[in-house]
């Protein structure tokens, strides 16, 4: 093995330890670097900001524990904006673990103490509804025909926010955060295409590229690009949280990745050049 090749064969344990260090240092000593907000998150913020007070929003929790580190902070940030604007929020979950995410998010938002919001009047949680796109079409098509209680079993007749909500026509906007491919396209199909609703979507960063055509064609009015979009939303809503803290860590870990990629390429071309010299 030439010296060049040795350079590329860094021991696995060394790389992993470096990554861990790059994660721990900025967590202990945050840098507080400035956030440059992307246009996609800005559009989400502006769309919600332009809604009149009392508008009804349908929100879907389409992620579970796997997506929580990225989308949980985003969810908390967008809820801050909803409640600050006095919007009425009807929350549902198309993800199996969505109803476990709901209490975690609400613990971060505290709508009662922070905004004086009242459960049942200002927001309601319908719980997990199976069937992905079928559930979306069901809620948008005829909500009372499908749902009879909220997630704790209170009949919808006793929930004041749902008295005027029978289906798609009564929602002013639909918003969702998801890690699932079927859900990400599903809301565009079921809310935008089928009912011409305004739609906002948030995804893992790795899904952003394939969802971007919907944003470019106006089928999604705003888009949250994973942990980066979450940091943007925390910044825009002035509620800094875990995502902005993650940004500092990204600075360290991704710089490490760039250095490793450069080492990999230098060793590759070095080995190639030295082989040429030999022959």
């Amino acid at each position: 093995m030439s010296a060049w090749e040795k350079l590329a064969a860094l021991p696995r344990e060394l790389v992993l330890t470096l990554v861990l260090i790059a994660m721990i240092i900025p967590t202990l000593h945050p840098l507080g670097l400035p956030i440059m907000t992307g246009q996609m998150a800005q559009d989400w913020y502006d769309t919600v900001d332009a809604l009149p007070e009392g508008s009804v929003i349908l929100f879907d929790i389409g992620y579970g524990s796997g997506g929580y580190p990225s989308l949980g902070p985003a969810n908390i940030a967008v809820f801050h904006q909803f409640f600050e604007k006095d919007l009425k929020v009807v929350i549902m979950a198309t993800a199996l673990e969505g109803s476990m995410m709901y209490p975690l998010v609400m613990e971060g938002v505290k709508p009662e103490s922070n905004y004086g919001a009242v459960y049942g009047e200002d927001y309601v949680f319908l719980g997990y509804i199976a069937g992905e796109q079928t559930a979306m079409a069901g809620v948008l098509g005829d909500l009372p025909a499908l749902v009879s209680t909220d997630y704790t079993g209170i009949p919808i007749a006793q929930i004041s926010i749902l008295q005027d909500v029978a289906g798609a026509d009564d929602f002013d906007i639909v918003a969702y955060l998801t890690t699932a491919g079927g859900t990400s396209e599903g809301w565009v199909y079921q809310a935008y295409s089928a009912y011409d609703k305004d739609v906002l979507g948030g995804f893992l960063s790795m899904m952003t590229t394939s969802m971007k055509p919907y944003y470019d064609t106006g089928q999604l009015l705003g888009l949250i690009d994973g942990v980066k979009g979450a940091a943007d939303m925390e910044f825009l809503t002035r509620h800094p949280g875990d995502a902005i803290q993650s940004s500092d860590v990204l600075s360290f870990t991704q710089t490490l990745v760039i250095i490793l990629i450069l080492i990999g390429n230098i060793s590759y071309f070095g080995a190639k050049a030295s082989r040429k010299e030999e022959t």
Binding site: R12, G72, E97, Y128, V227, V249
Partner: protein, 206 residues
């Protein structure tokens, strides 16, 4: 202050156990993995039963007896595991597939096909030179990428116009690079949540 909450300690154990696989396969990871699979399936059952009660049984209690049919169909699903009566399972699955396919393709042709063509078939000259350049690139990227996926007209990939699908391939590779970059961010951004949990909630050093 290190947490004194047993739930946090258990969570910390499972966080470390699940991470340990990155270093090497080990018995603690296997334990964590089997716990995960079991508990995930348990959660699915609990949510399933709740949904059956809320969206099925509630209708029957309201006197809509036609919903009894879906209970029969639901039980028929479990014939999947029978060698002899496997065909019974096909009835409910046929219902699910028909509904699932119908509900997605009816709108797909609008959202994926027509809306995207309409957006491409728009003026290329924009207010600023940069936007015009961007419009040209978007147009070229869309049309050439599409041409790359034409398989039954070999002429497109050869001769004088053979460069068109080739450009499409290059544009796609450039886009996949962007996708790669964002995937890197997804993974690191996600694990950061766990580091934060360990240092803040468990060890209390942040």
């Amino acid at each position: 202050m290190v947490s004194s909450d047993p739930a946090i300690w258990i969570a910390a154990f499972f966080t470390i156990a699940a991470t340990s696989y990155a270093f090497r396969d080990n018995i603690v990871f296997k334990f964590a993995e089997n716990t995960f699979i079991g508990i995930a399936a348990g959660h699915a059952i609990v949510m399933g039963v709740k949904n059956i009660r809320d969206y099925g049984w509630a209708h029957i209690m309201n006197g809509e007896m036609i919903y009894a049919v879906v209970f029969v169909l639901g039980i028929m699903l479990y014939f999947r595991f029978s060698r002899e009566y496997y065909w019974v399972y096909r009835y409910p699955i046929a219902f699910l597939v028909g509904n699932g396919v119908g509900i997605s393709i009816r709108a797909g042709i609008h959202s994926d096909f027509i809306k995207n063509i309409a957006a491409t078939a728009s003026p290329i000259i924009a207010a600023t030179p940069l936007d015009t350049v961007n419009n040209i690139l978007i147009f070229v990227g869309c049309v050439t990428a599409l041409s790359h996926f034409i398989f039954t007209y070999e002429g497109i990939h050869k001769g004088t116009i053979g460069w068109i699908p080739k450009v499409g391939r290059w544009m796609m590779l450039l886009s996949f690079g962007a996708s790669f970059g964002n995937t890197v961010m997804t993974r690191f951004g996600m694990y950061q949540g766990r580091v934060l949990f360990l240092l803040r909630d468990w060890l209390g050093v942040v």
